[in-house]
Symmetry: C2
Subunit: 580 residues, 2 copies
């Protein structure tokens, strides 16, 4: 992943620690991640495109460049460099717009990544994401054309660094934020977005439901380097003072247009909750747990009519097409408990989402499909297979799923188990769950824990799927571990700050960062150190093959005992944590 | 899981909070888990045996009895009730000893659970674990006889409440402790054991390596309600002042006898690290990461002889047989990184462990097999299948495995993903990993986090394997969630204290514990509430089938709008965390 043309913007493993500066109510985290510097790789053949990466600078002179979602915020240590009111630079403003070319390309008027991909047009967004993923641009175009991948990038959201969601690419993760009239200021929501992106969130959903909902979204959009999704139903509901029965197609439509104009990149639409599916939830343990799903179920029953999201779906497609907003077809009937997983209600809705997928694509609109929820491990893969079958392999975007219901306060973990498994099976994006799920409001620490936990699930799946670049990072970190390069271990980890803090709890002094031991086993009672000694001796004496060993080299044994290869262990080592 | 004959020892959901009292340096946690009381179920037909369970007392008058590992410590709120120097009562002292019966039963002199099971003798330990697991005792006897399950219960460790490890039963978890000359007192180690058992550890490994190693183990054994395992090699190494080359069979043998006499229930023996396997680790990214494995590799090279653990294995079997100590055949060459997973060294050792399994069983000694380590998800199942094939399905006991190397400080999570998957595939016991793995010493909080995380993995696997009782707890908790019984949610969770604390961060007042909402979505903007309203309306109006809906009941719609079924939502709800 190295490149001669990369341009480091800061240097050295001792790059400045992140700065959280407050100015009035504003707090924004900036500065490089510890041990890393931001670099930009020009895209060959499209030099106006420069792909950001995080360069981890290793103490042995090597470096590793990593996919980076953090945006410009990790370039500068100065919060004042970011004018929140002014927003980020409009990165994509100067990019090629195929529709600026005055030719009929057969897209039927659609100006979407999907429409262009189908007629063979390669956009700058495709070039950018191909370079970012390290794959050929033709793979990107083909996957988008087939509807197996989406590039959520509203034409009116030029600030983002485009990314791609699809099973042929790295598994992505989404973080949720949302304002609260009680606890959050708008600036705090922007900071949560920056914070989530810093730790690896690929997209963000703004689930604000309170007042200032438009203003909050505006600030988030203008300052976000990652695509932003919403659930327009929430704002529509605010407009009718919270009474689902008063919702109308017109109010909803106007809300969608309002949000599309602002630049929202993808929208959750619960158009698969049909009137006739509501009775299927009657005997469930936990009923309907999706807020959007329950609102639409209430509307359908109140009017005894089919959902306006379903009956007006074609009109919705026309609106989204004009902005290239991506559908995220919501799973309003997803299971909220192990008992309800994979039931008739859930799969009936999925079948309807499959129909709607075909409709959306016929309009040239990009589509992804939302998935559960709460599912025991043995029922997870069926979700992916059925989604692929019914929805033409549109990117699957799941919430966890939680593999058990019994661990509130640890649902980031219960869901990471399900998330890793469902991603290995082909899910393209994972919506994070924080430790506060089911219990309360996630704070800043919870957001970080949720993001890091989901990066673990996504990366584990990338490894299992054989993603060509994924294991480079594991190998680099494991080599650093075996060679006792502690700074490099920290820098290569998902969370350098916490890894270092845990290490320093018992060995805070700087020399311990190069010592050939740690506090787990003490200075010499260390398997890695013994192992290194064993290897050195074996190589020096030609004992590196089974044949050499079996040829009988008993005369070597006394040499080992006398030589530096001998390993002494102390009488009172520190406490172990590895088990045997 | 209820029983008419159960005897609650404390009552009421408001049972006293745990007490951590210090007397001198002594601190021990006692008292019931919040919302639960200890009960004891007499075993039908063997009334002298009483199986402990944790009874969760629900606010709707129901209760759920759960498998409980916490021992007598959760019966009393009084730390003074436990005389650490005197130890726990010798529960098994009065139990039936088949060898007390003066008949030759054909066991060849072996006095082990395995030997008795093979000749059709049902022991009290088998009766106890059968009742504890809720299965027929004949299943227990048969699985033990086949070597597919073990009951680690040294004849000289009468204090424990016996348990069974095998794929036909609930997945178990192990917690590690171990003293440090620097940071731990002996009493602190006992408290760590009590603490680990409180949160669900099924067995404990005492990995002490410092001085007072014998004394520490004595205190732990005498006060432990759960089986205790060790790695005798660590103490043997202390006896030769930490120089592996100075180890001898005689020193090792005497250490094993010393520990067996004390009552150690299972011992990790790295007898599969053969001289000829050492070169197979030469090109690994992380060499040999097992401490026992690296010590034996160093010994083999230093002497250029085959491991004394291997050459004297038959003698070892004779010793373990006399006490009914269970072998835990160690994976000294387990992979320490993703790159090294499933390599030649690892599987060569596993093949040797298979040979040794047959030898041990021929002596009537119970055996389990230790497994990795660091393994990417797609290579996990192969480990189980190969272990089953080579080791006659002896219980597999794995460390994680970690599904990626890149998340130090979160390795409880990286490994919980692997642990859940490997347990679903048939692993019988999971050795926990704490957040401090690879970085430092786990403290009390880390021990709890490790145990809870591994209970999640084990329980998720129980659900996936279709364990007959597992889902009862998920269903009870989910029903409590849907019905807004907050106290019951907390009490049914793996960690009631933390679940309640998270909830109370935003809604501390007692009335919020029965309110039909939480801080996530605010008082009325709640999918579960809407869903309950929808269900109530549908049932009242016969709309509980697709047919009824499709029959056309438009006249009902105005009723819903006018009736109590109408759902109002507020203008400014609190911040959401569920995504859509």
């Amino acid at each position: 992943m190295s490149s001669e043309t990369a341009v480091p913007t800061t240097t050295g493993p001792a790059a400045a620690a992140p700065v959280a500066a407050a100015s009035g109510t504003r707090t924004i985290t900036t500065g490089p991640i510890a041990g890393s510097a931001k670099v930009h790789h020009p895209v060959p053949g499209a030099e106006h495109l420069r792909v950001p990466e995080r360069r981890v600078l290793l103490s042995n002179g090597e470096h590793l460049d990593l996919y980076d979602t953090s945006g410009p915020y990790t370039e500068s240590d100065d919060p004042a460099a970011f004018d929140l009111a002014g927003g980020l630079p409009a990165l994509r403003a100067s990019w090629l717009r195929p529709d600026a070319v005055p030719t009929e390309r057969g897209t039927g008027g659609a100006r979407t990544q999907l429409a262009w991909a189908r007629v063979g047009v390669v956009t700058d967004e495709m070039r950018f994401v191909a370079a970012r993923e390290g794959v050929d641009v033709e793979l990107v175009r083909d996957e988008v054309a087939r509807g197996r991948a989406v590039i959520p990038a509203n034409r009116r959201h030029p600030e983002i660094e485009p990314m791609i969601i699809g099973k042929a690419f790295g598994v992505k993760i989404n973080a949720n934020i949302g304002n609260s009239a009680v606890t959050s200021s708008i600036e705090e929501e922007v900071e949560k977005m920056v914070w989530a992106a810093r730790w690896g969130a690929d997209t963000l959903m703004d689930l604000s439901t309170g007042k200032d909902i438009h203003e909050t979204r505006e600030w988030v959009l203008r300052n976000s380097p990652i695509p932003v999704g919403t659930v327009p139903l929430y704002q529509a509901l605010e407009k009718v003072k919270g009474d689902p029965a008063k919702l109308t197609w017109e109010i909803y439509r106007d809300t969608v247009i309002e949000q599309a104009e602002q630049g929202v990149d993808y929208m959750t639409v619960h158009a698969g909750v049909l009137l006739r599916y509501v009775p299927l939830t009657a005997r469930r343990v936990t009923g309907i747990v999706s807020r959007g799903g329950s609102i639409m179920a209430a509307w359908c029953l109140a009017h005894h009519q089919e959902s306006f999201l379903y009956t007006h779906f074609a009109e919705l497609c026309e609106i989204l097409r004009d902005y290239d907003v991506t559908f995220s077809l919501g799973d309003g009937l997803r299971p909220g408990s192990i008992a309800d997983a994979n039931d008739a209600a859930q799969f009936a809705e999925l079948r309807t989402l499959g129909e709607l997928t075909k409709v959306a694509k016929s309009y040239g609109v990009q589509v992804m499909i939302e998935g559960p929820g709460h599912v025991p491990m043995h029922k997870i893969v069926e979700n992916v297979r059925l989604e692929e079958e019914l929805c033409e392999e549109a990117p699957f975007y799941t919430l966890g799923p939680l593999a058990t219901d019994i661990a509130p306060a640890y649902d980031h973990i219960t869901s990471a188990i399900g998330a890793a498994i469902i991603a290995q099976a082909g899910t393209a994006m994972l919506c994070y769950v924080t430790p506060k799920e089911h219990l309360g409001l996630p704070d800043r620490d919870d957001v970080k824990t949720g993001v890091i936990t989901y990066k673990i699930a996504a990366h584990s799946a990338d490894l299992a799927k054989g993603h060509p670049r994924a294991q480079l990072r594991d190998d680099a970190l494991s080599r650093a571990r075996f060679e006792f390069r502690w700074h490099d271990q920290f820098a290569l980890s998902l969370d350098p700050d916490t890894a270092r803090a845990f290490h320093d709890e018992t060995l805070p002094a700087e020399p311990a960062k190069t010592a050939h031991f740690c506090s787990m086993c003490g200075p010499k009672f260390c398997s890695m150190r013994i192992s290194a000694d064993v290897r050195e001796y074996a190589e020096k004496n030609g004992l590196t093959s089974v044949e050499a060993i079996e040829a009988g080299m008993a005369e070597k044994s006394s040499e080992f005992t006398d030589a530096g290869g001998r390993v002494y262990l102390p009488v009172t080592p520190a406490q172990p944590v590895t088990p045997r």
